[in-house]
């Protein structure tokens, strides 16, 4: 063997060892960077809502409480007005402080998302386990119902609902959305239950005389947890997308500030042409951050449940 060959081999050895070391650092799959970053982004938004409420003057969300269309600090609007420290993120076309608006509005979107998914998930888990374990007619009904409901876009049904009823509270909106996010956890759990019923370790547990509930909660649930989390995050995303969609159509709650409604008002007031970018841009950015956070969490969870995704 020539010496260059040998050197190349040593280099390859080194690279392999480095790669192996990197693998070790992620020995605990729940500590992968995607998951941490995603959770961090969402926590930052929650913190903005909580800490903001304590530190900032929330009276500024009322119409006419500030000068109109002021830009954020360090920028100038078309009328050459500079941003001022009193309203650091600028103000909108009807005299409201953008910072106060997002402090009030950002947690609302998360609240709708979490509430809708919590209800949807709980329903989904119960239905999924029922379908998988009971089988027969019950399974058929649940399966067909979820097949049917999964293709109906929630946004349209909610559009019909909200235009018929007018103002709707956040909680009501969350409840309505929950009716459309139970299907994928149901399918997921049903499929998992069916495949696990076949798998060795559940059969082993059955043979050793464990009861059905024991098997369900002690043997199967722990394995389902990463999938359930993933499904939960996905339904939070769907719920927020739907809620924001409604708000941007002007159909969300009318009396509380939401990010989507702020965007709706900005579009209606022609903020795009008037170059009032902060009016729609800041809520958009915040929502985008929220979605990126949710995506990162989902990717991180994928790595937990599918170790093969972990290779760099």
């Amino acid at each position: 063997m020539t010496s260059t060959d040998h050197q190349a081999e040593i280099a390859a050895d080194k690279a392999a060892r480095k790669r192996a070391k990197r693998m070790k650092r992620f020995d605990n799959p729940w500590l992968n960077p995607k998951l941490i970053w995603g959770a961090g982004l969402l926590l930052a938004i929650v913190a903005l809502g909580l800490i903001g409420r304590m530190l900032w003057n929330l009276e500024l969300v009322y119409t006419g409480s500030t000068p109109l269309k002021l830009p954020p600090l360090g920028f100038e609007n078309l009328r050459k007005q500079p941003g001022v420290l009193d309203y650091p993120l600028g103000t909108d076309g009807s005299g409201r402080d953008i910072l106060a608006l997002i402090i009030m509005g950002a947690p609302n979107s998360l609240f709708v998302g979490l509430l809708a998914s919590l209800i949807g998930m709980s329903t989904g888990i119960v239905l999924g386990f029922t379908a998988g374990f009971v089988g027969g007619r019950t399974d058929d009904v649940i399966r067909v119902l979820s097949d049917v409901m999964i293709t109906i876009p929630p946004l349209l049904i909610l559009v019909v609902f909200q235009s018929a009823f007018g103002d709707v509270s956040l909680t009501m909106m969350a409840l309505l959305i929950a009716g459309f996010v139970w299907q994928s956890p149901t399918r997921l759990i049903r499929a998992q239950v069916l495949s696990m019923k076949q798998s060795g370790y559940v059969q082993m547990a059955q043979l050793s005389g464990a009861s059905t509930t024991d098997i369900m909660f002690k043997e199967m649930l722990p394995n389902l947890i990463p999938y359930l989390f993933g499904s939960f995050i996905a339904s939070v995303t769907t719920a927020i997308v739907t809620a924001v969609g409604l708000e941007v159509l002007g159909l969300g709650p009318q009396r509380i500030p939401t990010l989507g409604r702020t965007i709706y008002e900005a579009i209606n007031a022609g903020a795009l042409i008037q170059n009032l970018w902060w009016w729609w841009g800041i809520p958009t950015l915040l929502l985008a951050t929220m979605f990126i956070g949710l995506l990162l969490i989902n990717l991180g969870l994928d790595e937990v449940s599918n170790p093969r995704l972990r290779k760099a």
Binding site: D147, V148, I152, L155, L156, I157, V244, T284, A288, F291
Partner: protein, 336 residues
């Protein structure tokens, strides 16, 4: 070969019919639970136009008869279902007496055009990129650039639409701000019109593409990683087949199957997202029609638009299900 198993077909047909029935019923029931009386809305609109309306009660009764809401609920319901079958949703209250179906017929081609363009492009590009992320022989650039582009995934297209609109239409003025074609061109099969349509359609389509391709790419990546470990791919490699052939025929061909199912499941959400994009671009499609109807409280139009979009969704799912046995031989033989 090439036959769809009967049991499978019947199953899918039942699902299709149930989906349409349930959705149509929801759309019908919900407004009737509300205290708002559409006849009074119409009367109010007249009153605001004419100042005052004499013998209001008589006109209200007349309007109710015209809208068919003076009949028993059960009669109304079956009339509605019968009408829905032939796309008859009555008359628009905002642009009375234009039939709702005429308004929809005008808007639908735009929505379908944008939908086929953006959804199909997204699906193809997304899956291809996802596959390239895993394939051993892809260019290095692909493995760095694609994950970076993925940051936008799962942001709703309405937000990306706003951003694109601001940058490329309001600031740079490369593309028109709103509309589906320019006001100066004649609609028809002439080059100026086609050009204008493409020019106007580009941003809305891009708004959808940049935020949804990542969804497919991510899903495909996971599936490809699984397929890559399959014995048949290893054997294909041992057979000395060309890498590109293995990629298409052995890897993508098998990894794509769950993606097609996912497409069917996701299509409703994607179309709903597109409706919102149409709204902000004031694109002459179903989204704009829906939005205008919401502003006018024009219930027949809201119902009609929602029904047609749900029908498109359900039909797309049905078609995907019908194609599925042809691409997965295992379904064809087991009858799903």
């Amino acid at each position: 070969m090439g036959r769809i198993p009967r049991k499978y077909l019947i199953n899918r047909l039942i699902t299709l019919a149930l989906t349409v029935l349930i959705a149509a019923s929801m759309i019908w029931v919900i407004p009737r639970l509300s205290p708002v009386d559409p006849a009074e809305i119409a009367l109010g609109r007249m009153a605001s136009g004419a100042g005052a309306v004499a013998n209001a009660e008589e006109i209200l009764a007349q309007l109710r008869a015209q809208m068919g809401i003076d009949q028993p609920l059960i009669v109304q319901y079956f009339k509605y279902l019968k009408g829905a079958l032939v796309f008859d949703f009555g008359l628009s209250t905002a642009t009375f007496p234009t039939p709702v179906s005429a308004l929809i017929a005008q808007a639908l081609p735009w929505t379908l055009g944008l939908m086929i363009l953006s959804l199909v492009i997204t699906f193809v590009i997304g899956n291809l990129l996802g596959a390239l992320m895993v394939w051993d022989h892809s260019p290095k650039l692909a493995k760095v650039a694609i994950p970076a582009a993925m940051v936008f995934t799962s942001i709703p297209p309405i937000l990306s639409g706003l951003l694109l609109m601001w940058i490329f239409a309001a600031k740079l003025r490369w593309f028109p701000l709103t509309g589906a074609y320019g006001l100066t061109v004649d609609p028809g099969w002439n080059w100026a019109f086609v050009q204008s349509v493409l020019h106007h359609g580009f941003l809305p389509a891009m708004a959808i593409v940049i935020v949804t391709f990542g969804f497919w790419a991510l899903g495909m990546r996971g599936l490809m990683i699984t397929v890559q470990g399959e014995d048949y791919v290893k054997l294909a490699e041992a057979k000395g087949l060309k890498p590109r052939y293995i990629l298409y025929r052995y890897m993508i061909r098998n990894a794509i199957l769950p993606q097609i199912t996912a497409f069917a499941l996701k299509i409703g959400l994607l179309i709903a997202g597109q409706v919102l994009v149409e709204r902000i671009f004031a694109y002459n499609g179903m989204g704009k029609l829906l939005y205008d109807a919401i502003l006018d409280q024009d219930f027949p139009v809201i119902q009609g638009v929602s029904y047609v979009i749900i029908l498109i969704t359900a039909l797309s799912v049905f078609i995907v299900d019908l194609i599925y046995p042809f691409i997965d031989p295992r379904i064809r033989h087991e009858g799903g």
